[in-house]
Symmetry: C2
Subunit: 111 residues, 2 copies
């Protein structure tokens, strides 16, 4: 199946860019990631996310939100916070989060 | 060598998030990507970039710029534009670009 990008976003919206360095498959990571996908999908104003990870390299996840309120609801979610704390203790060597307001976007799709 | 994230960014700055679907190693891609890394590194106000790609999945590149002027200088660069046109014709199934103004960022690094 061809991977799909998040499409149809109308500015303004917000991006939460999460970049990280961690081992390839740490214990418990896949289960937590799967659960957090369910949680974020239920946040009002969540518009979708994309994730990529180079084996042996870094990972980048971009989550799209309608406004800062929806992004903050996700940021402050109890399960999300617990997972981040666990991740700092057990999984990540480093990570960065960049919260951006998108005023301009464009795309291409092969016909 | 442990991969490194771009660090030390002070808001406000801009992120250009480029997400794409393409075959794993199309002809000519690596050479063009390598050349464009040289070009973007010479753009005044360019602060760094990160890139990840899941084999068989999507690719995400995030480039960081001091302001919209530096981002536009990159967007309008002749080699960059020629590469994007070539990419639309030969490499990409789809891509999206999201230009965001970052007011807030934070990070974690294991001690």
């Amino acid at each position: 199946m061809t991977p799909q990008l998040v499409a149809g976003l109308e500015p303004p919206y917000y991006t939460a860019v999460f970049t990280s360095v961690r081992p390839d498959a740490p214990e418990g990571y896949a289960e937590t990631a799967s659960r957090l996908q369910e949680v974020v999908s239920a946040v009002p104003g969540f518009l979708g996310y994309e994730s990529a990870r180079t084996p042996g390299g870094i990972g980048i996840t971009v989550a799209y939100f309608r406004d800062l309120e929806s992004l903050d609801a996700w940021r402050l979610d109890a399960e999300h916070r617990a997972a981040k704390e666990h991740g700092r203790e057990h999984w990540y060597e480093s990570y960065s989060v960049h919260i951006g307001r998108v005023e301009r976007s464009y795309g291409f799709e092969r016909e």
